[in-house]
Symmetry: C2
Subunit: 409 residues, 2 copies
């Protein structure tokens, strides 16, 4: 499998990947996309449940959801309910730099593979534990899904209308971006290990990642001694104007023509008289009459046949704005294609498919490299042979005993 020897930033690292679902696999997939040899150990019989997620199924199994987060990894499928399976896992530890897991907190200890034990086997091991709400604290044992961590983080409370329940984004912002945090944690810990010989146990949680996104809310609550209670304010922010989502023909437009950008919008609207008019010329006065500002702008937007022509008019005048693109529009957008924000990949089972690009672009190292998602247990023999020195006979016996599993997807 040529992809595994990808010459990239992290090609000297080997990662034992005990993750499934989304956040953990996103972390190790980022490491794999930067060249790390990622060995994904999946529990027999079915492996990562995301392989078989019917509601996210298109074309064939495994789901494209699995393919997206697991390209470039090797798969070993072990029966972890059998002590012989766990023993093989333990035998891998001396051969890897990093272990990443996203079990419920405590499960690694239950397997006899908590950080203390791993560090006995390999003192400089780096263990990265990814979870929804963290390894510690009174909520740590709750079932962990993205939207649960998001709700506990206070981020959900900041999305939607002031006078009704909030909305959740239909994208796994927490899962994927926590994977990015995990990858950063791992690479920083490797850097530290290389200098000092010290290992580390990293605790990375969706809750903490989401909480970190409060750029102003926590400080404004605390800094005002609680007088400012941050809460959702609908389609427009509460501290600048115009800054929000405006309805246009056929869609919506984000307009951010606050502060020094205001004159540009006035010119685009042919309302130059508002540039210096004290009833219009400051964010403070505009915020006080949003019931006039929004209809004035949305009314003007109605004079355009579509979002595109309205955006073009504003961008010609330097107004910071953007069309709210649908996913379909993004996939076919020349900017997104040219940058590799979206990429077309080849998968052995699915053929050609579009996926989000690797989110870091390199000038010299390769970008959006060709990788394949592994079939279940595809690399059982390879990994147990090369890394653990098992003979072909021994590997066959392990398979017959149900310790190793292999499937077509």
């Amino acid at each position: 499998m040529a992809t595994r020897r990808l010459d990239h930033a992290l090609s000297d690292l080997r990662v034992l990947d005990l993750t499934r679902a989304a956040a953990g696999p996103a972390c190790t997939r980022m490491l794999a996309e930067m060249g790390a040899d990622v060995i994904k150990v999946e529990g027999a019989p079915g492996g990562d449940m995301i392989r078989h997620m019917a509601s996210l199924q298109f074309r064939n199994e495994p789901s494209l959801y699995f393919v997206q987060q697991n390209r470039g990894k090797r798969s070993v499928c072990l029966n972890l309910h059998d002590p012989r399976g766990v023993a093989i896992l333990a035998e891998m530890i001396p051969h890897v730099d990093v272990v990443v897991e996203n079990f419920r907190p405590g499960v690694m200890e239950g397997l006899g593979l908590g950080y203390e034990r791993l560090a006995e086997i390999k003192p400089d091991i780096i263990l990265c534990s990814i979870s929804a709400l963290g390894q510690t604290g009174p909520l740590s044992q709750l079932p962990g899904y993205d939207f649960i961590a998001q709700a506990y983080s206070g981020i959900t409370s900041m999305i939607g209308p002031a006078d009704d329940a909030p909305y959740m984004p239909a994208a796994a912002i927490g899962d994927i971006s926590t994977g990015v945090h995990g990858a950063l944690a791992v690479v920083a810990a490797v850097h530290h290990r290389n200098r000092t010989g010290e290992g580390e146990h990293l605790d990375v949680a969706l809750l903490d990642a989401y909480y970190h996104y409060h750029d102003a809310n926590v400080a404004s609550y605390s800094g005002s001694e609680g007088k400012h209670q941050p809460s959702r304010t609908g389609r427009h922010v509460e501290y600048l104007s115009p800054c929000g989502i405006y309805r246009a023909n056929g869609g919506s437009i984000v307009i951010m023509s606050f502060l020094h950008h205001w004159p540009d919008l006035c010119k685009a609207m042919e309302r130059e008289e508002w540039i210096d008019d004290p009833a219009w010329n400051s964010d403070a006065v505009r915020l006080q009459k949003m019931d006039e500002v929004v209809p004035a702008i949305e009314g003007w937007l109605q004079s355009f046949p579509d979002v595109e022509s309205a955006v073009k008019r504003m961008q010609d005048f330097g107004v910071p704005c953007a069309p709210v693109l649908s996913v379909a529009q993004t996939v076919n957008h020349p900017h997104h294609r040219q940058r590799g924000t979206v990429r077309r990949v080849h998968d052995r089972l699915h053929g050609e498919v579009d996926l989000p690009g690797f989110p870091i672009k390199f000038k010299k190292l390769p970008n959006n490299t060709e990788l394949e998602a592994p079939t279940l247990g595809e690399h059982n023999a390879e990994v147990l042979g090369e890394m653990l020195g098992r003979s072909q006979d021994e590997i066959r016996e392990l398979a017959e005993a149900g310790i190793l599993q292999e499937k077509e997807f």
Copy 2:
């Protein structure tokens, strides 16, 4: 300044930080919180405009917004409109490992400090360029704000009601998480440099980070040959049920009792008969009658006096759920306090204030270390003296000539 010599994962790295506002400073602040010596060069006369952002001002200047993203850095304030200021900047390059900038694409070249020039001065330099829409592509010159990149990414289109304009989260998810991507890019490139001696130019954009959060949307559009057009579906996802936001007395609750979690919710609701009833017992049938599912659950939630008691009832039965906490509730939550998800820090000008914690928790390395945000130009003399060997007289002359600036905040 003791903080600068913080013994942490990245203590051997020196970073020249040419960033302002949010995404760039978040990147370099994460590096500083892991021990890097970050020298923030701010343009005279005012420095980072975020220092003075009145709408985010509480207590004193600089804004807490500035403090939050700039703790642990050193500040040098240089007049970059004067060639002597730019020359000093160039003189710093041989002394740093990494340069991070978030100017509009092309500005570094305009200063005579594009990647090619930096690599002439120091061949293994790592330049990380952070922007809204990327260094390349037809949209790269547009003004860049978080919500503009979010709109172009298709993420905004996935938030809100199906039959009206979307909503934007009132938190800088794109800015801060792009900073995390930037920090990962930098540390991975340092790892590569240490092995190979090669430098790198990294292109990190909010658009690409946001796009990366489409865990299923891009694949489902592409994998279905465009038959599935992902779009926002309100407070409930379209592929599992229950999975969404439910109204309760005094607030809202995220409930995710789909698939194998359904029986737990039935038991909590004392509706055991629904566990095996074919009219209720699959996600598929529930998705087809959301107009019954939502009122049944919301009606039951009304029997509780508040969100807390309803959540407790469901969590006692193992139902994955969470209260939609307000920011105020998160700041005072025992879990968030105990984990350091939120932290109380001391600032010289603001006193004690709560801020989001560092989102990676370490077992051995220090967590949430004490750091101060610099006053403008606070380290002019220190950096120009120690690093560039300028005498006190020379530094005084530069200040008198307006090349160096220093202010109390």
